[in-house]
């Protein structure tokens, strides 16, 4: 299998969508400071706590989703390759 085909199986369009969620999580976490609704040196408001918490959750979940999919797909790829080698060896013998 070529590297391009393997990468296509490891990183499907769904993982790209999860990466978009990762970017959205980054934006959510920094938005109170970027939009200056959270003043520096002040206690965090409820909106800031909410946005930072949700942004962090989205970043973690999307990263775990991408990595989890990649690991499971890699495991399936290795199993398929081993099965193909096994069949080829049986035919050769």
């Amino acid at each position: 299998m070529r590297i391009g085909d393997a990468m296509r199986r490891l990183v499907p369009p769904g993982s790209l969508v999860l990466f978009l969620f990762f970017l959205a999580g980054i934006w959510l976490a920094i938005s109170p400071f970027a939009m200056t609704t959270q003043l520096s040196g002040q206690h965090w408001t409820a909106a800031t706590v909410n946005n930072v918490t949700l942004g962090t959750i989205m970043m973690v979940v999307s990263l775990l989703g991408i990595l989890g999919y990649m690991l499971f797909a890699l495991r399936d790829l290795i199993r398929e390759t081993q099965a193909k080698h096994g069949v080829a060896e049986e035919q050769a013998s």
């Binding site: 369009p13 769904g14 993982s15 969508v17 999860l18 978009l20 969620f21 959205a24 934006w27 959510l28 938005s31 109170p32 939009m35 609704t37 408001t45 409820a46 909106a47 909410n50 946005n51 949700l54 959750i57 989205m58 979940v61 999307s62 775990l64 989703g65 989890g68 999919y69 499971f72 797909a73 495991r75 399936d76 199993r79």
Partner: protein, 146 residues
């Protein structure tokens, strides 16, 4: 039916991540009112606008992502033979008639009976054609003699 070991972990992983992010998007939409930093009846503050502008696309895309991962899961289950694919009606094509051959093995009594009947019909048709051509040639000879 092809049977292979289904690999479902990756799809379930994607579905769980999409579901959690969908819930997060829904909470983002509700949060300004639930946490009280958006007063009722007042103009939206910038945090509320930001939460809505982020939460709605996140929820919609996460739902679409969940559905796509779910369909991929169904496809994998079908490929593994766990689920059966829908049977689509196929248009029947009438095959041209072929005379039964003696070497073809008969699988059932019905096949054998039908083949015998078809052979008898074919023989009858051939005999009628031969009779018709004999009569025509006889008439032609009579006309030539007269």
């Amino acid at each position: 039916m092809r049977t292979t070991q289904p690999a479902l972990g990756k799809y379930i992983c994607g579905m769980v991540a999409s579901l959690i992010i969908f819930l997060a998007g829904g909470w983002l939409i509700l949060a300004p009112f639930a946490l009280g930093y958006q007063p009722y009846g007042a103009d939206w503050v910038s945090q509320t606008t930001n939460d809505f502008a982020t939460g709605i696309p996140v929820a919609v895309v996460a739902l679409a992502s969940f559905v796509l991962f779910f369909y991929s899961l169904l496809g994998s289950l079908r490929a593994a033979g766990v689920l059966t694919a829908r049977v689509r009606p196929v248009a029947q094509v009438t095959a041209p008639y072929q005379a039964p051959q003696a070497l073809v093995p008969y699988q059932t009594d019905l096949d054998k009976t039908l083949a015998t009947l078809a052979a008898a019909l074919a023989a009858d048709l051939t005999a009628r054609r031969q009779t018709g051509s004999d009569q025509q040639s006889g008439q032609t000879i009579d006309q030539a003699v007269n």
